[in-house]
């Protein structure tokens, strides 16, 4: 792998809060990571962990309470000028989870796919808009004839393709895909995953892939961050993490995923994560440490010792 990877998106000490004063809830707490151009970065965690909130903070749907989000060298959170806001809207797009709920039932596909273009007016003539829309449809494997139809005329897989078409019509660089396939059937999942991979190759797209299905994440991502209650607890190159999950939460998450292979599934041991008995953070607070190259973990000194031993057992040289 080449070492001159360009950072497209950088999230630094991000904090997102909901509610005020007494009812305040910290959804995302001191989260930092970066995404290289052209890679697929996975964010996994359970519902309520804050993974979707991070995605929404990046596209400016949720306000940030602290930290910085830097996209292609420019700070994009907090107050920014209109021009930049428009630019961000074009360059960062989103694909949503449920294609049944995320398409306007009353609008024709043509309007749904064009809506982003209408909003930003980044086309000169109506001809040009139509060209762009038709091209986007072909890119996702749908016929331009479908433009005059309504969403209910399509199957789940086709609807998710429409969802993809309306994001790529903007020619974005970063796509935030929030559980793009969890509402779909197994065979249709494969189609949408293939489509996303294909578009990435052709258009050099960068993905932030938010999911809870770890087998899909393993298949599609280059690097993964595991998030628990608003904090990233472990981050590594995908294969490294799957070979050597270290943090007890990561391990419990991995052990809970059902494997579609009866022998493996029945042989596995469930691990349970209980923050109160796994950590003694009162005296010795945790730090974000690179334990092996490209493998980061949230841990204190005592735990790091343990993790290093675990790595050594598996024949991996730890840092430090």
């Amino acid at each position: 792998m080449d070492k001159k990877k360009e950072v497209l998106l950088e999230v630094k000490n991000l904090r997102v809060e909901f509610g005020k004063r007494k009812k305040r809830f910290v959804a995302v707490d001191d989260v930092s990571f970066h995404i290289y151009r052209g890679e697929t970065f996975g964010l996994v965690g359970e519902s309520g962990s804050g993974k979707t909130t991070i995605g929404r903070a990046i596209i400016r749907l949720n306000e940030t309470a602290g930290g910085e989000i830097i996209f292609d060298g420019k700070k994009i959170n907090g107050k920014i000028d209109k021009e930049l806001d428009k630019e961000i809207t074009r360059r960062i797009q989103m694909i949503f989870q449920d294609p049944m709920a995320s398409l306007n039932e009353r609008a024709k596909v043509e309007y749904i796919v064009s809506e982003g273009l209408y909003n930003l007016k980044n086309y000169k003539t109506d001809e040009e808009r139509k060209d762009k829309v038709e091209k986007a449809m072909l890119d996702v494997g749908l016929l331009p004839e479908f433009l005059s139809r309504f969403p209910h005329e399509f199957s789940g897989g086709q609807r998710q393709r429409i969802g993809v078409a309306r994001s790529i019509v903007m020619e974005p660089e970063l796509i935030i895909a929030d559980e793009p396939i969890s509402a779909l059937d197994v065979s249709i999942r494969a189609q949408v995953l293939n489509l996303m991979a294909d578009l990435q190759r052709k258009k050099g797209l960068t993905y932030l892939f938010i999911a809870h299905d770890l087998s899909v994440v393993r298949f599609i991502t280059d690097r993964v961050a595991v998030i628990y209650k608003g904090k990233i607890v472990e981050l590594a190159e995908t294969e490294r993490l799957y070979r050597n999950p270290l943090h007890p939460y990561t391990r419990s998450l991995f052990s809970a995923i059902p494997i579609p292979d009866p022998r493996k599934e029945r042989a596995k041991k469930l691990e349970v994560y209980d923050p109160s008995c796994h950590h003694d953070y009162d005296k010795d607070p945790p730090k974000w440490v690179e334990i092996e190259p490209e493998h980061f973990i949230l841990a204190n000194e005592r735990e790091l010792e343990e993790y290093r031993k675990m790595l050594a057992k598996n024949g991996v040289q730890a840092i430090g």
């Binding site: 359970e46 519902s47 199957s155 789940g156 059937d185 197994v186 065979s187 249709i188 999942r189 494969a190 189609q191 995953l193 293939n194 991979a197 294909d198 809870h212 770890l214 087998s215 899909v216 393993r218 298949f219 599609i220 419990s252 998450l253 052990s255 809970a256 995923i257 059902p258 494997i259 579609p260 292979d261 009866p262 022998r263 493996k264 599934e265 029945r266 469930l270 349970v272 994560y273």
Partner: protein, 349 residues
Amino acid sequence: MEDKKVILSVKDLVIKFRLRGDILTAIREASLDLYEGESLAIVGESGSGKSVFTKSFMGLLDANGWIDSGSIMFEGEDLAKFKTEKEWLKIRGKKIAMVFQDPMTSLNPLKTVGKQVQEAIELHQDIKGDEAKDLTIQILQDVGIHDPERRYNQYPHEFSGGMRQRVVIAIAVACNPRILICDEPTTALDVTIQAQILELLKGLKDKYNLTTIYITHDLGVVANVADRIAVMYAGDIIEIGKCEEVFYNPQHPYTWALLSSLPQLGVKGQDLFTIKGTPPNLFYEIKGDAFAPRNPRALKIDFVKRPPYFQVSPTHKAKTWLLDPRAPKVEPPESIRILRQQWEVGNNG
């Protein structure tokens, strides 16, 4: 065949629905023998008919649907002939119970959790008042709800998703049913909670002597819970066998396709296997093998004549002409061949 007692026997069941003036055949002559004490998983994509099939065992078909022909034999009675609600009330909830998918919508928000469980007991068993309350608390304890006396008086909104699903399960097992149907019991839950609920269901199965049917599209869940697997496509069970037989030695091209499209069997950086086309339109009569139009390996006869079951082993059968002795030898996709090899190595070693 091992000496197992058949608890429920479905034969050539046909279920139809009237939709906007047209008639749709949702279940096409499906047959199934359910053995006492087993855990059977029915897998299939949305629209394959897996939910409709099992709902018909409880008389829960929508008003526009009906059993057109065939039989469902249970305890000496043909459930397919039931006409009135009164008849169904003897079976539904009492003998055959169901755990629904979404615990957010299957509980009454205006009633305490305890009352909802107790209601099921009082309706079906001859137990009332304090005795019923004691039993309710016992069952709540059984499904893993801590401090059941206090929880008895709480409302569903005071419970988390996983705890709510435990309550739904408590209601289902409250009347000691013989068969428990779990319709996507963990789809709406987080993975760590999902694992707990599956463990709970497996434990209850032994404790309450249940025969369980799981309806799911998550093959990981199937691998965890199933003794046997039935694969449904276009309203028919096209392959059925023991869990390992179906996973490691699948015979029907649709089962091949379903397993091959799993990311676990994919190679990173390469395209995943996908099934071309869409499931058949059930408004029209289907000729031959329903999967043939989407099957690149389809034989000529697949378009003409519907295949019968061919026995693969005493416990494993599939409806595909490929198993006919006269059929040409068709190799399954590579990922399936690898599975089969692994299985054979495992069996010998």
